[in-house]
Each structure stands twice: as C-alpha cells, then as structure tokens.
Amino acid sequence: MFNKKKLGTVALALGTTLALTATSAWAKTTLTVASFPSFDQAVNSAIPLYKKLHPEVEIKLVSLAYGDHHNAMTTALATGGNLPDVMGIEYGYIGRFAASGGLEDLRAAPYSAEQYEKLFSKFTVPLATGGSGTLAAIPADIGPGALFYREDILEKAGVTKEDLTKDWDSYIAAGKKIKEATGSYLVSSATDIKDIVIRSGLKDGQGIYFDADNTITVESDRFKEAFRLAKAVREAGIDAQVGAWSSEWTEGLRRGTIASQMMGAWLGGHLNGWIAPESKGLWRSSHLPAGAYASWGGSFYGIPKKAKNKEAAWEFIKFMTLNKEMQIAAFRDLDAFPALIEAQNDDFVNQPIEYLGGQVARVEWKEAADRIPAMDVHKHDPVAEQIVNDALEAVLERDADIDTVLADAAKQIKRRARR
C-alpha cells in the first residue's frame, strides 16, 4: 500500500513543477507558422535570427505539402479550429482566401499596412486585396516570367536570342530552324504559348478570364490570338507535347531535347538544383517573347481572424517581408525573387549567376517584375482555366474552329461560375 505521506510529497513536487512550467510557458508566446515547401525554408532560416530579436517568442513551423497545406488551411478557416497565427499562402489560393474574409484586414488598425504597400512590386498587392478593399496578406516573394533557353542549341541552329523574343512569328520560325538543325523541340507544350498570350497586354485591374465587372473575356482577341499561335506551334511540330513537371519534361530539359522553357525566374534554381545540374553554363535567361510580362506564382503571409497571437504574428510577418536582409537571404538560398522593391535594388541583383554562364539575369527579372500588370484574381479562375484548357485541346487535337470553341467556352464558364 502507498504511504500517504509519501504520496503527498510526490503530489506537491509534481504540482510545483507543473506550476513552474506553466508560468514559464506563460511568459513565452508560441507563434504557429503554417507553410509549405520550399517557402517554409525561408521561415526555417529566419527562426534563429528572429529569436535573437525576440527571445520571448517561440516559433513553431507546421509544414505540409503544397496541396495538403492549402486544403488544411481551407478546412481550418471553414471550421475556425486549428488555425495558425501566420499563414503562408501561395499565388493559386490567394484570390480565394482574400475574398473569403477569413483573414485579418491588414489595412485596418492596428496593422495599418497601407503605408507599406508601395514598398512591394506593384502587381502583388492587388492579388491579396479582397472585394471590399481589404488587404488579406503581405507578399513575400514573386515569380517574374522569364524565357530559359539552351544557348548551345541555339548556336548550333544559327538562331539568336532576338529571333526568339522579337515576336511570336519569329519565335515559331526560330523553333522550326532549331528542330531542323538539332532535332530539339523549342517548347514543352503548345499550351505554354496560350498561357502567356492570354496574360499579355492586360491592364491593371483586369483579370485573365473575367473583367473587373465580372464579364467573361474568353471571346476576346487576346484568346483568339493565343489559340491561333498555340495551333501554329503544334502544326510547326516544335512542341514536345509534354506537361510541365512530368518525367518526360524533366528528362527533355536534362537531355536538351527541349531547348527552352518559359516559366517563373525561380526555374533557374530548379534547373541548377535537380533538373539539369550537369548542363551548367549552357542555359541562359531572357525576357518573354513579344514583350510579354507575366508572373508565375508567388507567396504571401496572412493572419487568420481567429489567430491567437495576432500581435506577434504581425511582427513576424513584418520581419519576413519588410526586412531587406531576410528577403535577400531567401533570394540567395531559395531563388525566391523578393517582392520587396528595396531588396530588388540591392547589389545582390547585379551579381552574375554562375549556372547561367555568368549572366546577370536578375536585373532582367527585376525589370520584368516592374512591368507585370496588377492583375485581378477571380474566384472562378480555376474553373475558367479548366474550360479554356479543354477548348484548346479540341483545337489542337481535333482541329476544331477557334471561334466556335471559345464561344462554347464562354457559355460553359457562364454556367459554371453561377454564384
């Protein structure tokens, strides 16, 4: 049997320890940051630096795969449970999250973030703006579009960078030359051309598929031209007909059977890191063809309305996004192009990139970032994108009439975007 006195002592000791831990936990704020790879690396490397400034804050990073993270955040916002203090949000979801009203309005007090808005690339802030002029998140990094190409293959075919970028007709002609001389495809997929052309020539405040007043724009000349060019590319036989990130795609880039790829500037990091590390020095970067400017992805930080430590969360977000050093660190380590203009103007941008044969490519990316229009994101964009992709396949595969498929697509979008 237990000795009652002994038991009492144990209980007392236990109680004291508990009380002590409780008080020490009280003094420390645990800030939960939810993110996804490789955006989470920025947080990971920031933790030791942040701790020096704010020893009272303990940062807990919860990281899930890209899709899982955003599904988990949707569920958390829906139910109001398990919400982090700081939420990492990727470009593809920012429109929906911003419109939902589940995130704090950072323009309102005590955040008053309006004063910081001009510090970021101008196209980023409207992305995170909700319908009623609320600011749901602060941009951290962006993906200015660039054309990556294999210099050696172009040289072999006698094609110059200007041939590729002058206009689309010249681009297709250059692709034919490359195919004839080297057997390499110029593009991975004709869809890539469509994706860029439907994004080019947009003015601030316009959306890709929807206008500012919700009218569907897929029957416009922008789409007709995009479809016509995609078809021309397919007919010229210069696209490899593979989807991005498929094994054919990575192998094609690695072996040089795909001679160029248009994507966010961060593709350089992927090429260097794992896709084609052995072709170091052979790749170059340039502006997109025909004076197009587009952005590929980008990441944001927001604070859920039901977060527990909003004040600490806001401090942390400011540290991650407004701090030039942090932004440049992420730029250097993760190829995450900073959204902060001050960081874009840092001397780091002028340094040559070894993988790209010593090219000073970041300057060009910065120029692109300046010119990307402030596009409007619509909550039905994913639906419209699916419909337009299906329509393009009908044109490419079954030679359907462009005007007819686009008219059908407009009808489809209207039906599906019913709310």
Partner: protein, 330 residues
Amino acid sequence: MSSVESAVRPPVVKNRKRTLKQRLNASGYKWAPYVFVSPFFVIFAVFGLFPLLFSLFLSFHYWEPAAGLGAMEWVGIENFTFTLTDDWFQTSVYNTIWIALAAGIPQHVVAIPLAYFLHTSFKRSRNTVVGMYFLPFITSSVAISLVFTTLFSRDFGMINMLFTSAGNWTVGDIQPLAWLFPTANIDWNRPEYTKTMIAFVVFWRYVGWNTVLYLSAMQTIPKDLYEAATVDGAKRWQQFWYITVPMLKPMMFFAVTLTIIGNLQLFEEPFIITGGTGGIEQAGKTAAMHMYITAFVEGDFGTASAVSWILFALIAFLTWGNNKLLGEKK
C-alpha cells in the same frame, strides 16, 4: 476484490455470498457494458456519422469554405439539379462506368480460372504464389500509379520501348511485325488511351485480391463432388464449369459487389496518373475525382456534397441490381 466492493459499496448485507447474476445486476455494473462498447460509437459518431450528416446538410447549401461556417447559404436542391444536368458530371460518370467495366469484368474473368488453376495445380508452393498475386493489393496505390506512369512514359517508358522494338524488328528489308506493333512511340496521355491505361492499372492491382477470394471459396467446395464427377467421366474443364462455377456463386456476389463499390469510387489511380487534372479533355476524370475537384479546386463544397450523394445513390442502386442478379434467392 475487497477493494472493488468497498469502492462500489453495494447495498447488500456483508458476509453473504451473491451469485454472479446478482453481482452483474448490482447498480455499479449497469453502465459497464456501455462503457466498454462506447469507443466504437464515439469514434463512429465523430468520424462517420457526423461527416455523413454534415455533407447531407451541406449539399443543400452554397458555402465559401474559407469564409467560415457562418457563410452557408441555403439553396435548396439547386446543387442536385445542377449536378444532374452538368455535362462534366455526366462525362465523369461515363468515364467511371467505362473504367469500372473495362477493369472489373476482366478481373473476374481472369481471377476465377486463375484461382481454379492455383487450386488444382499447386500444392506446396500455393501460398507463395497466392502471396505474389496478392502483393499489388497491399501496395500503396500512389506508388503503383507512379511506377505505371513511368512505365507508360512516352519517350522513356518500358512499354513503348518493347512495343516499338517489336514494331521496328527488321528481317532483311521488311518489318514483319509493323502491322501489329507501333513503330513510333505512343503518347499514352492522349485522351483515347487514358481510360484504357487507368483500367489496366486497376485490373492489375485487384486481380490478385479477387483470386484470393475465389480460391478461399473453392477450398470450401466438398471434394466428393469432384470425385463423383471423375467417376462419372467428367473432364477437368467440365468439372470447372459444372461444379466450381455454380458453387462459387455466393462468393461471386460478394466479390462483384466489392468491385462495383470499389470501381465506382475510383480515385487514387486516375488522380495520380492524370496528375490530378483528369487528363486531356477530362478523359480520365472519374466521378470521385470530379467531386474532389469541385470541392478543392473550384471551392464549391455544396455541389461536391451533392455529387457525393448522387454517387452514393448510384452505387446503392447498382449494388441492389447485383443482388437481384447474383444474390441468393429466398
């Protein structure tokens, strides 16, 4: 023992032995059985019943999930009417049924003879062989789908390599197999191949499972039936056709039911193979994928819930039909 009794303090006079029944009826024990069975009910209520009812409730609403629970908006049966008249949903159901038939029928047509073969031809090594056939069933479907997308890769896949090397096989100046095999790489991602590819993967994965089901049923068929048939001069295929197949009917009912339910809920294989998009022109998008995309890509949880209930009704109806066809007549 004494400590338990003193803790419960039964209102019975001490020093008198009680029977077991009396003890179990003592007030302190009345709730005990409920406590012991409660874990199941608690777990079922949280993870089974609640989501079920909630999705039913949700299917009558429009809901912007990121805006929180307060943002639900009653829309009546609009989600159901929209889904039923929706051509994407119809295509996805067509794809599902196409894949279910193309993957399901061969599963049983192959599994029954295969099980018979294993049953009659292997004695010692049977379990090892059965284990090999069963292996795909217990392997992660994500891993399987990734391996198959690699095998089916257009430029670097094994399958195209085998096909084209057969097609380009040259004797003298002619290619004798060129009429049967392709001479150039086939792009298996083209819409005309997507469903076949998915059906093949599903077939490959579940044929072993069905074989095991049928094999276990065969082992319960009395041996004397076969002995009597042998005495009467029945050949081996006759024994298979007139004894094994009729005796397997209850197991066929069970296995076909599982195939119907499983194939109509098909999700992982087409999801991984088509990269989550449903493939070019949605050729490989199943109904379950349509539900997922409606909810998580388009953000319309209400309509997605309606899709899930329509799918449930469809599965229930087909299972009922299967019961009429193969189930036991009373």
